[in-house]
Every structure is written in structure tokens, then in C-alpha cells.
Symmetry: C2
Subunit: 458 residues, 2 copies
């Protein structure tokens, strides 16, 4: 294994540059951070230019700009479209962070900050890897690269799709490369080859026209919070199956062999529970934890609120109750189909005395990527070089809706060369990214380009 | 009907003094208003002194002080203990108020402010009525009066009970008079003779030790919000009955005649629904709306929260979910008994994969007061004089736990001479109190004292 001298010499700077970027709270979901989202885009543009990417531009959209830049190695070289996002999840609840989410610190060899892993840290691996290829004297950049980083991934990538449709020629490429996923463990490299889709809704249940005194009115009116709870409870049966009619109709059924193969991935129940402080695992009857988080669809309430939630006691019957409810989808469910089934069903189960509204948020399609492609092999070989072990193909539980969108719009297959860990607490307080993982990503990416260029020009 | 000249001359000042008092946000549930709670006590003390009450003092407790003062008419006169409270409910959600909750305004002949009716407005009727008796030349104050106003009614009157126990002699009286209830309508006077009790709890459901990404973990862990919803939903059956084992064991069953009598109170379903913007009434099968809000116990969720409740979408599985759940009790349920049944049952229905904690808040006992007493008759006669109609005895749905406490500790029966309306939105945004009701209270109270003194000395 070659000594990565350039990386060793420059890793401290790469970490500082990432930390500078993480200090900008680019939360796309909350309008009050809009200025910071734009600052984060500017910062990324400047870093790409400094690394040697040509013609970096901020492409305007109806929402946040797309940071786009190209490196042209030559017409005879294959072209890789690199995707990532510079926006981050909201950081609340802030009080559960052990250090402020937008003041990155390195503790126990991990970078703690919102976006450290998802996805600024992983995007910055690509910036650093590109700089390294340009300057380390190991043969330069062997592929044409088109960098495209959006600022709306955490709010549904609505404008990205329009941008892609309007720029099919500009974005023409041979493969999509992205780092927004993870590996099983630092000594168990893996590559995700499946992702779940998403259907996300906000529901509103309205009872009386105003908040009521629970003594004067209690017993005579449908309480919207109780009603919402009843509706949510009815969405699962006693076996953990989802009760929405038609929900499972299009779910791909894996063969026994496929399930056996899937369950060969390392999994230890005690370690799993311990890693997330879980009293017990729980899920759909008849499936293992690995299956429940990969090949089976789910329904979870992501947030609920209504009535008095302050200190002490208030004897009120709320006028309204709300919940955010999302479903993870698997092949061959589609986001549109499931969103329609959910909305129709949820409205139909409204009990007497309340009115129910369902507002769909963004969705995304489930996807399975090929493991027999030149690009997958280039990525697996790259990881084998840098980790010293052949990576395991896995199917992840998360959703990256744009992967299906790129397939539909540009006929591009994706390689999900991610370096995070499930324990990185993305979307949670105390998100972090291992320094090992950040550096391993920077080290691995150039191998992918070299393997891919060599195979494609064979 | 005598012309109440003194009241006519001074009503504008009484309203201004009440408004000054309402400007002080005496929210007892929230520590940040503690200074204002003390200010509201001082204001009340000063007004009682100005009206002519002797020896007004702020009696310290472990919590907020009790404002106490006496008027001594003579040893041959009956003694009335007047109770009320100067603390108010929290005002949130502030954004639903059409004018700020602590900037009282009179609109459409109603005073709008937090506490306008519950209970500052009704307490101030007693201050003004006392002043009027002292000065209107109609014979002076015919009873001994002990005024006792607490500052913790909205948080469970915890320290009041200790104060009462420690001051039995000081508080010795013939009857308890309070104005913290209402009448059916301005042209349908009524007196509450029954109140429901209360058992109030906060519950906490914990699943994983930290918030999780719903994609990576969804399907493999019990979601505490879904679990909480399932638990809450199971607390009622399809007929609206409460499923806690033993819950109804001690509920007093009314005879058919008693139920017929109860249902004679004016009630119009359309008006009821319209008054609170209700799509439909809903409640326990087999009972009318009047019965559901008076002689039947209830269970309502007063607040629920967990997970992401901000703008947009966050794909998170929360570590914890919370709810505030209260039950209204009827004779002969007791708060202790029901709290124990609830806690035991709620913990027992925790589904696999979550841990449940139940934290009891304050409770209160249900009560029925006599309608054949001298004091009740004095109150009914007073209302008949000022309203021109005999008041209807009603059983209210709310809880004033101290009424049962005074009965137990001091063997005092209560007369609940309240002047509010159900539509006053107490505990809700836009609480208000009719100027008619405020003035009618001031006018009526002296008649009560005169009737009561005359009957007791007969």
C-alpha cells in the first residue's frame, strides 16, 4: 500500500477547511438560515476553484443555488458526475448537543458538528481528493469530472430535478459518483447498492374551533390529540405490519437465497442495541433487523405536537393536533403511489368529530444499483486497496431520492462510495464523522478514478 | 328591583382597577413570571385595604403567598369565608390572541385578558361588592367576612391545604363562598352544585438512547411516538368508555329520575356545536352531552410532543415522546385511587422496546354541594333578585379541588356563586368576561350577604 504522502502533509489543512465550512449553519429547512445557505455555497465554490476545478459557477434555481464545476481531462476519458449536498438538517434539539452544532470540534478522533458526515464532510473528501490528484504527482486526474452540489437535499431536492431536466447535455456522464452513505465498520468496508424510497407527510387533525377547557367540555367533544393517536395507532397491526390497504402490493419479494445472502452481513444484536441505547429491538414479525432496515418498508412518526407542552399542568382540549409521518419504501413501491394510498387511507380513518388534512412533503424512489458494472468494480477495488479488505455490497435503509431521479432523467447508474458509520448520529444531536473516515475517503477516491479510467479505456 | 346607584357611579373605576390588575401576568405555572405573581398579590392586598378590609396580610407559604383579610361585623353575625385565586393560566399560544393577553381591552362589552374571568375578574367582584356594602348606605356589611385568595390554584393549590390545616381556628366560618364558576346564560342564571375531580399526569416514553435517523434505523426499533399513540389509543374503547381496569368501580350511578332532572337544563345541540366551532359532538355512548360533561368521568390528552416539530421535514426517530393526560372524576371516585389505577395501567401497557414513566401532577376530588342549605337559598334568592329569574342548580364539568378540601378540613359547605359563561374561553386564547357579568356579580353578592345574615339570625 503506497504511502499517501500528499495526504499526510495536507490533512491538517483539509480538516481546518472542513471545520470552517461546518461553522456556516446551512440549514435548508428553516428560512432564517437562508443567508448561511448561500454563504456555504460560496465557500464550496471558492474551495473547488482553489483545488483547480475549472469554470465553477453558482447555478441559480427557484431555491438554493447548485454549485457546479468541471474538470476536462480529455474527450477520450470517461466522465464522472459527482453529486453531493452542502445543506444540512436542522440541529435541534440544541440542548442535547454536548458542543454547539455549528462550532465544530475534534474529540476522540471525530469531528463533531451538524453536517460533519451528512454531507459536508463527505463532499469535502471529494474536494480534497481532487486537489490531491492535481498536485501529488501520481499521474494527474484521469477522468473528466463534473461536480454538482445542491443545497436542498434535506428538503427534497425539488429544484435539482428541474435543473437536471434543463441541463441534460451539460450533465452527460458515464456514471454518477456520490458519498452520502456509509460503511459497516472501519474494519468492515462496504458499498451500498440499495436505498429505500420516502413518502413524507404532515397531518393536521382539527376538533373544536378553539382550545377548550377540559373540565367544561371534556367528555362531549372529540379530543383531536386522542383522535390523532387513535389514527396513528391503527396504522400498524399487532405484528408490526402496516395496515394501509394496498401498501405492500408492489413490494419486491426476495428469494430465500437472496435473504440468506443479505443476512450474511455482520450483525450482533447486543452491539446493535448497545450502540443506540435500545432496551430491545422491535419490528415487523418474520424479518431480521437487517431485513427490517433494508428490504422492508416502514412507517414512522417523525414528530407530533398539540395542546399544552410547557411546564406544569394546563387543563386544555386543543383545537388541533399535528404529526409528521413518513414511510420508507422499497422496490417496486413508488413515492407517488404510496403517498396517494396514505393520504386516502388517513383521511378515511378520521373519527367522528374531527376534520383531517394531509399535506405531502417531498418523496423519493427506492433504488437498487448494479454490482456487476465497471464502476462498481472500480469502487470495490479502490476500497480493497485502501482498506486491505474486499467491501461487502449492502442495502441501506436510508433514502437518497436523487439516485433514482438521475437514473430516470440521465440513465446514469450510481456508485455510492460513502464512508460514514451508522453511529455517526446524522440527523441527530452530536452528529460526527471519524477523522479516519474522512481521510480514508480522500485516500480512496483517487483510486476509484484511476481504476475506472483504466477499465473504461481498456 | 332597587337602582344600584353606587355601582352605577363607580363601575367605570371598578373596571379600570380590574384592568390594572389584569396587566400583571400572574402565571403561576411558569417560574419566569414569579415576580409578577407577587406583584398581583400586592395589588390585591392594596385594593382590599382601600375597600375597608381590616388586617390584610400576605401569608407566606412554601410557594406563592395567600392574601388574607378579615372584616368583623360582630360575634352575633354569621361568618363567610370567601375564596378565590389571583394566579392565572399560561397564555400560550400567544399568536392566537386577537389582542395581547396581558393588555386588557374592552371589546363588544367584554373584557379580554388572561384571567379576566378565571379568576381575577370574579375575585374583583368581591372586592368591589365589599366596598359597595361599606359605602352605599344600604345597611353596611351584615356578616363577618374572611377573604382568602391564593396564588397557586392553577398549579394544584399544594400549599393552600397546608395553610388551611395550620390555621383551622383562624379560618373558622359558617360557609365557603367562591366565584370561580359560571351561569348557563345571561338570561338563564344558575348555580353550580357539583364539580368533577381531577387526576393529571405527565407520561414519558423512551425508546432508543438518542434520536435516530429514520432511514438507517426505521423498522428495527420501537418508535416512542408510535408507541405512545398506541398506548393512548388503547385507553378508550369504540364506545368511548375508558379501559383502565377498575376506573368506573366507584362512579356514582344516578337514578333515572335524577338523570331526567339533570337533562332539563337548557341545551341545544346546534348552539353548542356552533359556540365552539365543533364539526360534531362526540362522547361516551349512552349519555347526553349534559351528562358527559357533569356526571361521567373522562380522560383527555392535554398536550403531546416528541420528535421534530419545526418547519419542513426531518427524518428522525425521536428518543422520547411525552404527553400530559388528565382525567375528570365524579363522585365517588377519588384522585388518589384513580391516579394509582392510571399509573399502574399505563406502565403495564408499554409495548416491547420502550420504557414508560408516569409522573403525577396535582389532583382534586369531585364534590356535590347541598341545595337545601340556608346558604344555597340565600344565593338563589340573591340571583333571583338581580336577574329576575330563579337560578337553576347545575353540575359542572370543571374541577375546583379546594372545594372538597375545605369540606374535609373545615367541614365547610360551599356556595359557588359564579358569573362566568362557558363561552368565556378560560384556559384558552382570548379569555374574556362580560362587563354585564362582572357588574351583575358586584350587584348580586351584597344580596347574598344580606339574605344569609337575615336567615342565620332568624
Amino acid at each position: 500500500m503506497a504511502q499517501p504522502t500528499y495526504l499526510t502533509d495536507h490533512q491538517a489543512r483539509f480538516l481546518e477547511e472542513l471545520k470552517d465550512w461546518l461553522r456556516i449553519p446551512s440549514v435548508s429547512a428553516d428560512p432564517k438560515f437562508h443567508g448561511d445557505v448561500l454563504k456555504a455555497a460560496d465557500y464550496l465554490k471558492a474551495r473547488l476553484e482553489a483545488a483547480g476545478v475549472q469554470d465553477v459557477e453558482l447555478c441559480p434555481t427557484a431555491g438554493n443555488p447548485i454549485v457546479y464545476g468541471e474538470y476536462r481531462a480529455g474527450d477520450d476519458k470517461p466522465t464522472v458526475l459527482v453529486y453531493g449536498h452542502y445543506d444540512v438538517q436542522p440541529a435541534d434539539p440544541y440542548e442535547l448537543w454536548t458542543s454547539p452544532p455549528f462550532e465544530p470540534v475534534i474529540k476522540d478522533e471525530k469531528i463533531y458538528a451538524r453536517g460533519a458526515c451528512d454531507d459536508k464532510g463527505q463532499v469535502y473528501m471529494h474536494v480534497a481528493a481532487f486537489e490531491m490528484m492535481m498536485r501529488d504527482g501520481q499521474g494527474g486526474v484521469p477522468c473528466n469530472i463534473k461536480f454538482m452540489f445542491e443545497g436542498e437535499e434535506e428538503i427534497g431536492s425539488v429544484n435539482l430535478e428541474l435543473f437536471v431536466r434543463a441541463n441534460r447535455d451539460k450533465l452527460r456522464a458515464d456514471v454518477l459518483l456520490l458519498s452520502d452513505t456509509g460503511i459497516i465498520a472501519n474494519d468492515v468496508p462496504s458499498i451500498e447498492v440499495g436505498l429505500r424510497g420516502l413518502s413524507y407527510h404532515e397531518v393536521e387533525v382539527t376538533g373544536p374551533g378553539r382550545d377548550l377547557h377540559s373540565g367544561l367540555y371534556g367528555g362531549a367533544v372529540q379530543n383531536p390529540i386522542n383522535a390523532l393517536c387513535e389514527m396513528i395507532a391503527s396504522l400498524h397491526d399487532a405484528n408490526g405490519h402496516i395496515t394501509i390497504p394496498g401498501f405492500y402490493d408492489n413490494v419486491a419479494v426476495l428469494s430465500d437465497d437472496e435473504r440468506t445472502e443479505l443476512n450474511k452481513a455482520p450483525y450482533n444484536d447486543d452491539e446493535f442495541k448497545q450502540s443506540i441505547g435500545l432496551p430491545d429491538t422491535y419490528g415487523e414479525k418474520g424479518y431480521t433487523t437487517i431485513e427490517r432496515t433494508s428490504i422492508r418498508p416502514t412507517l414512522d412518526v417523525n414528530g407530533i405536537w398539540g395542546g399544552y407542552t410547557g411546564e406544569g399542568a394546563k387543563t386544555v382540549i386543543a383545537s388541533k393536533a399535528f404529526a409528521k409521518i413518513s414511510m420508507r419504501l422499497v422496490p417496486h413501491q413508488t413515492s407517488d403511489e404510496i403517498s396517494q394510498l396514505f393520504q386516502k387511507h388517513f383521511e378515511s380513518i378520521a373519527p367522528q368529530g374531527v376534520v383531517v388534512k394531509v399535506k405531502p412533503h417531498h418523496g423519493g424512489e427506492p433504488v437498487v444499483t448494479p454490482t456487476d458494472s465497471v464502476a462498481y468494480k472500480a469502487a470495490a477495488d479502490a476500497m480493497e486497496t485502501t482498506f486491505g479488505k474486499r467491501p461487502i455490497p449492502t442495502r441501506g435503509g436510508g433514502s437518497i431520492p436523487i439516485v433514482a431521479m438521475f437514473k430516470n432523467e440521465l440513465q446514469l447508474d450510481a456508485v455510492m462510495l460513502g464512508f460514514g458509520l451508522d453511529s455517526d448520529a446524522i440527523h441527530s444531536p452530536n452528529e460526527h464523522f471519524g477523522v479516519f473516515n474522512f481521510l480514508k475517503g480522500i485516500e480512496t477516491i483517487p483510486h476509484f478514478y484511476r481504476n475506472y479510467a483504466a477499465a473504461e479505456s481498456r
